[in-house]
Symmetry: C2
DNA sequence: TTGACATGGTAAATCGATTAACCATAGGGT
DNA sequence: ACCCTATGGTTAATCGATTTACCATGTCAA
């Protein structure tokens, strides 16, 4: 590999001049001709600064860690995409790690930070009861940004407008004429779970509708959780005419459970889910969703980590706004009787 | 951060002694007492070697790049998990990049390699016609392992036993009594597409059944591709009684299209898909799949990259063997008439 | 003519770890 | 007494880039 002294030799200047020219050091006084020779030499030799040398000298690795709970969720994938784009455009690399690295006894994060291998950490905690002591992870001066969580004292956070997203979903259903809404939420112990449920309750209340606690579940965001939630809803003697699902993954399970009950979507029951990824359009029926700015969230986290100003901040990504993507899982409520899970003999063709 | 000279000072030896003790240099003669003091000092100070310093000296970054076409596929996520585990256990970091980095003009890979920031690359090419000149990406001495592709001359490859996986699926359906099998495959221009289709044809042929070319499609692996494939199948005047889908993502689309046609799974038509990830169990009905050793594939790629011996190899990961996961999307074929897409009036209850 | 200042750079230290080459001392054999 | 070898380490160079401090020359004004 060609190094800075090779460039210097070809341009007939010192290595220090090359470094200062290429880095745009404004305190360097250099003739236009020399500057030109240096630039040309670097170009001709295809010079790329050695990362280890630079990192050693500057104490910055231009690398950040992205720690996520579940790589198999497409929702995470969106976020990672956004982070990756932003990182690439800033010349940063992203190292990937699953959250279990934090708890598997390998002290992975401390190791990476100790090695000065990463300049910062983007951390997305698993849904559910927090079993990681996040605050204790603040290590030295390495900044940590926590995604989609709550205020973690000394750690910066970036979150989505969860309540706004849920509100968009609720308003869509209200607009279709629904007044009997159910909610399939995340764990109440998680920050997003709390914000989304609160958003649902607020939107219902503002519409002047009564809140039916038995139609509000909090099993979690996985497909299996969604199925369990729908089964729990169906165990009561009446069903809502529409359901807001706080996560698309859970919506798949909800949809499967509805089918298993012999009900039709959206004829008997409408569903709308938070987050829009490819499989929302590959189910039957395709699921109406609210698209959230996930990749912008990832980008914002990278930006926060990179910005010089290292004060602790708590930001909410609101742009672009939650966007309703109407597909075929939502429709008008049936005007006559409210369906129950006993009421499952109907023609396959009464779907609107 | 504590550095090696701090440890040396505390232990009362030279930095070189510390380095050699901690790295287990067998040519170093050192008394047991001194060794003990060094180890204790390192432990007490929580010494972690600085990565840049070490990388600069050794010219090895202990980092590999993982380049994937599509982060949002859970199939990729399995693979990434396996790679990440293997990497972590070897003390390597994985930097994540999407395949578009290779073609977006930023020369990302060349940059990373030029900076000596990565020691090797694991490359999974997008399905479909290869629009990346892989061979040209061999840069200097940086090893590249290509995943799930074909023999790429100077590049090592690691692949799955695609034909074996498809054969497992076919045998399951044959065992249920099906003789009219369809195949929803990937692009014929991609290596996995070819291997999976070839596996399907071979398994059918060996069973002594005729091959119906009109029941073999090759739209691709995405959900939308699966939907298109199923619609194409349904455009003929007879349908197979069972379909092997070469990728679970496409199977979601197939399932949606089958529902849209008013057909029932598995009563009218059975489906079995390659790859087993969470949403196979969150659809209606849950999809019978063949689980492939994806995380082992990822681990094998990391191992290949790390092993000293740098000859070019072509390996197939066969362990554990393709595993059939029976769910509710497969059943016996109907004994009477073969269903068509016109035949869609039936009770919701005639499901097996 | 001398001092001041601008011009156009350069020299050398530094970041932290590794490693090839070397060295001081003690003990043992002859 | 002298050489040899083993013991237990150490010294110093090196990896490549950055950055602070400095220097040689030329020009201009007083």
């Amino acid at each position: 590999m060609v190094k800075i002294s090779d460039v210097a030799a070809l341009a007939g200047v010192s290595a220090s001049a090359v470094s200062r020219v290429l880095s745009g050091d404004s305190t360097l006084r250099v003739s236009a001709a020399t500057r030109e020779r240096v630039v040309a030499a670097a170009r001709d030799l295809a010079y790329v600064p050695n990362h280890a040398g630079r990192a050693l000298r500057t104490s910055r690795s231009r690398t950040i860690a992205l720690v996520v709970p579940d790589v198999t969720s497409a929702v995470f994938a969106e976020l990672a995409s956004g982070a990756e784009d932003e990182a690439a455009s800033r010349g940063l690399a992203i190292v990937l790690a699953r959250a279990e690295r934090l708890t598997d006894g390998s002290d992975w994060l401390r190791q990476m930070v100790g090695e000065a291998r990463i300049d910062g950490v983007i951390l997305q905690l698993p849904d559910g009861p927090p079993h990681i002591d996040v605050e204790s992870m603040a290590i030295g001066r390495t900044p940590i940004v926590v995604i989609n969580s709550e205020d973690h004292g000394p750690l910066s956070t970036v979150v989505l407008d969860d309540a706004g997203g849920i509100r968009t979903a609720v308003e869509h259903l209200l607009g279709l004429g629904h007044t009997q809404l159910g909610f399939v939420g995340g764990h109440r112990s998680s920050a997003t779970g709390q914000r989304r449920e609160a958003g649902f309750r607020a939107a219902i209340r503002e519409a002047g509708l009564p809140i039916q606690d038995r139609w509000i579940t909090s099993f979690g965001y996985s497909g299996a959780d969604g199925r369990a939630a729908m089964e729990a809803l169906a165990s009561h003697d009446s069903l809502p005419t529409a359901i807001v699902v706080a996560n698309l993954n859970a919506a798949l399970g909800v949809l499967a459970a509805i089918h298993a009950l012999g009900l039709r979507v959206p004829t008997d029951i409408s569903i709308v889910a938070l987050h829009d990824v490819w499989y929302a359009d590959a189910t039957w029926p395709p699921i109406t969703t609210v698209r959230m700015p996930l990749s912008e969230l990832g980008a914002a986290a990278v930006a926060r980590l990179t910005d010089e100003d290292s004060t602790v901040t708590h930001a909410t990504v609101r742009s672009p706004e939650p966007l309703l993507v109407v597909r075929q899982s939502t429709g008008n409520p049936r005007l006559n009787s409210r369906p129950t899970h006993h009421d499952n003999e109907r023609s396959p063709h009464d779907q609107h």
